[in-house]
Symmetry: C2
Subunit: 319 residues, 2 copies
């Protein structure tokens, strides 16, 4: 038997046909026809599913379920409350797709879907309680609790990036001050590094690399130079790590998970990131006895996480 | 059929025999024979269970399960890693009680047990995702997630009181700075109020009430005077509320529960507490659309929560 996973984004719909072991056998992607509205997007998803079945030379009956990860909030039947990038509000996505396709359909927020992918094929395999934190432009997250995807009362991915952990010198886009995202996103790292470069009190190869064009600064450059011990890069990364460790410590104190996996663009800093966090997070963890508090790992699945997680949702839901 | 619930504390063991609806039919309590060690405490629990069965005139077979709430950490089979007040480390409580009593035995941390009680007979009845926060000398908590008691990777109640939410002018007992507990416990409220009284810049009836004996100050006095608009009491309660709202906002952003229930001594401030929090917490909640973010309520069960939750564990586990 087979599963289909759909990663529905604001610009692209990616789809994959997987076996029950979670291996992707066929993949396709199309532009999201946002301007064709809800009905147009539903039809495009159905076409993409048909194409995958055809590519694999399968009977429709061999597909046990279609999972869809959405950039928005929905209930467990797949009723979408809101998906800003698609201009959707209160649309019955699950119901409509079931009607058109005649297959079991499961729908979840894309952050939760990424956590499901990590829990089935990646860094959180066989984990009962695990948290995926994505460190990119913002900070997001998905939760696996008691062996199941957890999406709270509104079917949203965890907004753990908006956990307040201190005071910061600028406000978050959400209006609050002190959100984790304003300390530990790529955006925050770049912003703070720029302020250090402007101060001019520190040495850094960054000035040379950027040739005074601060707009070219990105998180990768900062992490790469921090690895070499560059003064400004190290100062900025240390601050990033300190606050990320507080955020992770808070999650550990609240949920005591087995694993926290770090994904998103910043996680490309790799073992340097993990080792730096490991060295810092113990300071903030209340319960230090017994089994080691929590493993911190890199997420393993990159671009395919959306397809894999969406396909594997069916297995999780039928349990 | 009947259930027995045991609330095992460092000074007292309380036990109750309940019907399947969670009503307490008989109650007894004895001193905890801490100095008799693990074996002595197990025997005392077994005697207390026998006494309850006898009081009710029941056959042993009519008791479906015995639940025990412990002041410590354990795994799901009831192996206790640590219970500081009982001087226990790595003892097979569940196994031993099953041997002595010949009945199904369930064991959980006492904070989780209190949340189970609220979820079966109190403020979180029929709630799928709910959080109990206890505001007392410290700040503790118990979680009900996806309709089940959640106790993480170490069988502990949630250490949500050690979530870091800002910077404070004194360190927490745990060694960190900025723990929720250092802003929003009875201890923190009293400490901050004392510092305001010492500053001498503000008016307050508290000075008169205390007759210069600051040691008599307690959280109830402060809340009572805040209700009347007293200057110092209001200033202290506002700060307490602000940080408690940040902590609650963080939990909502992370877990998006249906209900947060407030228990513990400070919750006796009643509707004044709830209304103050309600007015503040919206500022810190990321997702404000759709269903209302989260209900905030007073916990309903007081001293009996330990017995009720322990007895009801059986029902939850057999689900």
């Amino acid at each position: 038997m087979y599963r289909i996973g759909i990663d529905l984004g604001g610009t692209e719909i990616k789809g994959g046909l997987l076996n029950e072991e979670g291996e992707i056998l066929h993949k396709v992607s199309v532009t999201t026809p946002v301007t064709d509205g809800f009905e147009g997007v539903c039809k495009r998803i159905a076409e993409l599913v048909d194409e995958l079945i055809k590519m694999a030379g399968l009977q429709r009956e061999s597909v046990k379920s279609v999972g869809v990860g959405i950039p928005g909030l929905c209930d467990e039947r797949g009723f979408v409350y809101i998906a800003v990038n698609l201009y959707w509000e209160n649309v019955p996505l699950g119901e409509r797709l079931r009607q058109i396709m005649g297959l079991p359909v499961y729908i979840e927020n894309d952050a939760t879907v990424a956590a499901i992918a990590e829990a089935t094929k990646g860094s959180m395999k066989e984990v009962i309680n695990g948290v995926l934190i994505t460190l990119g432009t913002g900070v997001g997250g998905g939760l696996i609790l008691q062996g199941r995807a957890y999406s709270g009362n509104h079917g949203l991915g965890s907004e753990l990036g908006h956990m307040i952990i201190g005071e910061n010198d600028y406000n978050c886009n959400c209006g609050s001050n002190g959100c984790l995202e304003t300390f530990a996103s790529a955006t925050a790292l770049v912003k703070y590094t720029k302020s250090l470069l402007k101060e001019g009190n520190f040495n850094s190869k960054l000035r040379h690399q950027l040739k005074d064009n601060l707009e070219d600064l990105n998180a990768k450059m900062i992490f790469d130079l921090a690895k070499e011990g560059d003064e400004i890069a190290t100062k900025a990364v240390n601050r990033f790590i300190k606050y990320l460790a507080i955020g992770i410590g808070n999650i550990i104190n609240l949920l005591d998970p087995e694993i926290i996996a770090l994904g998103g663009g910043v996680s490309k800093a790799g073992s340097f990131l993990i080792e730096s966090i490991e060295a810092e997070v113990g300071k903030y963890v209340f319960f230090k006895k017994g089994k080691r508090h929590c493993k911190i790992r890199l997420a393993e699945l990159e671009n395919d996480a959306g397809i894999i997680g969406a396909a594997m949702m069916g297995i999780k839901r039928e349990d």
